[in-house]
Subunit: 329 residues, 2 copies
DNA sequence: CATTTGAATGAAATCCATTTCATATGGAGA
DNA sequence: TCTCCATATGAAATGGATTTCATTCAAATG
């Protein structure tokens, strides 16, 4: 069943059928005749032929570090809900945390395939920058700020500045920070910078030294908490860059009989279930992952539909959720 | 840059270039000439044109209930790792728990788009069955057994039969079960059936009555635990169909000063972090989600590559992880 | 030596829609 | 009455590959 057969059955030309499908000039009689034939035959135009001709795939490529992550899968849910409603398909590219794969997929997607790309980024190298800037198809970056590129990111700096201040206001003066690798600018650099600025602004510059780097796991949190405490002696508050790390830290503190929050305050980040079920529950920061996905999808659609619009960089807020681990009774 | 231009530059016909790309008969000289021209021009054949002609998209559609779920995103990671390695792209369809959407996407994917479909299923209606059976393109169902359809599923029955027996062997005789809606055959029906069979086989048929249905949330677990205990009096063990529900139940028990495991044993399912960070930690069942995704992808590829192969139904095992909530000191 | 057989090749058909171009018609405006 | 314009229409070109078919030539087989 192709357009020619339909045309023949309806007694019109190919062009007429195409006009029917695309709402072009067409008399009422022909329109009706074609409608009838299509209904009877159940004809559906070949998407591939349409793509070949129009170069519009109605498909968006999403490149992400790993799908089985709380934040990423939530961003994805947001992206999907917007694109789905607009009739776009999603091509998924999971890089398994391999930054080279990101560039590879960008290249694959670029090569006549998708109408736009959303890149959920963690590490952005110099090479990324140049590749991204050179592309023609619309792109939106999620999770990292990238000057001059449309992006949606979280306010890591102020989230952690506020969080650190919250701790300082409780009277703590020997803080420690468990962070992440600096390669990840948002999570590794910005959060740490906020912690350091906050303690310095509070007149406690020495505290800015008390930082270690962990992986995003419970066991790493356990190890790094130990490392931190052994290196800098007893602290009175521990700020962790993720909930998982905070849970690991809590496990270590418990094993050493250090009471939270009585002897030490503790915070995490992410507002996953995990921080609300420990004893004590852990103070954390909520980001708006799903919303960031939605926002990114909208930004992308805007770029695709209108032309000559300004580059938008969207910074999303956060909510500090204070739980038992920072509340002194 | 299209194939004709390359052909002209290399002084050969279109067909020769196509043969070069597809490893057909070609003399060494022409091969080299074409190679050179392609290298110089950076030519890449149009994927869309290839698809139009060959009807092979090198794309697999994955339909799932929601991506922001622990189990689903892990299955997805498994699917991706296999397909990625074989050069397939993944088209994602998130139904947001709407079974009608599943059929819709199946239809969309069917309409000349993907080489195969993986359906991560929760609810399978009669309509699903008939639609699935009528399809021509290969399909694999994950998470539910479907006689006569290639599928990969977890051994829900034996997992919960074993788990219930584990509890019974500890001397418990007043059990309760918090399950899920029967629409979900694997999670709702099979697990409950296993619980009921186990208590009956142990000579405690009355316990089979002690069941309620919850949603997959912590708060629902809290409510339903209350409901169960208020309806049937004090029990000595509670079997929950997910870790989240178990965590909710634990919260309720704590609020009532019922000691776990001293006064009541408690189990969950899923082996997510959440069951390993509560106090006490909760005994749970691990499924092999990522492996199920991998297996499904392999099954699909098999179907696509070989013909006339038997329908395979793959049942994957489980591991019971005994934590503090069932260990009496 | 006659005859298969296999490798090598290009012209043309094919996949299936959209779009351009040329042409026709009826009505509005000058 | 003469333009001009919007509507209506189909033939043919287009997008860019793969595949069939016919043909050639050389080597292998009997």
């Amino acid at each position: 069943m192709n357009i020619s057969e339909i045309a023949e059955l309806a007694g019109v030309s190919n062009a007429a059928v195409s006009r029917y499908l695309n709402h072009g000039y067409l008399s009422e009689e022909k329109r009706e005749a074609i409608r009838k034939v299509i209904e009877e035959t159940g004809y559906r135009p070949s998407i591939q032929a349409q793509i070949l001709r129009t170069r519009k795939t109605k498909t968006i490529g999403v490149i992400l570090p790993r799908i089985d992550s709380y934040s990423v899968s939530n961003v994805m849910a947001g992206i999907d809900s917007v694109l789905e409603a607009r009739g776009f398909q999603i091509l998924l590219a999971d890089t398994h945390n391999n930054p080279d794969k990101e560039l590879e997929y960008l290249e694959i997607f670029d090569h006549q395939h998708v109408d736009g790309v959303i890149l959920i980024a963690t590490v952005l190298t110099q090479k990324h920058m140049s590749v991204i800037k050179k592309r023609k198809a619309p792109i939106v970056v999620v999770g990292q700020q990238l000057a001059g590129i449309p992006c949606v990111y979280h306010d890591d700096y102020h989230a952690f500045y506020d969080l650190t201040n919250l701790i300082l206001q409780k009277g703590c003066c020997k803080l420690g920070y468990i962070g992440a690798l600096a390669q990840d600018r948002a999570v590794g650099q910005e959060r740490r910078r906020a912690y350091c600025d906050a303690v310095k602004d509070a007149g406690l510059p020495a505290q800015a030294e008390h930082t270690v780097i962990a992986e995003f796991t419970i066991s790493s949190g356990r190890e790094k908490a130990q490392e931190l405490l052994e290196a800098y002696g007893t602290l009175d508050a521990l700020i962790c860059t993720t909930d998982r790390i905070a849970v690991g830290a809590l496990q270590y503190l418990k094993s050493k009989n250090i009471q939270v929050p009585r002897q030490m305050l503790l915070t995490g980040h992410g507002a996953a279930d995990i921080s609300s079920v420990t004893a004590p529950t852990i103070t954390t920061v909520r980001y708006f992952y799903e919303e960031s996905g939605e926002e990114a999808a909208k930004l992308l659609l805007d770029q695709m539909e209108k032309d000559n619009i300004p580059v938008k960089e969207v910074k999303l807020g956060y909510t500090i959720i204070e739980n038992e681990s920072t509340v002194l009774k």
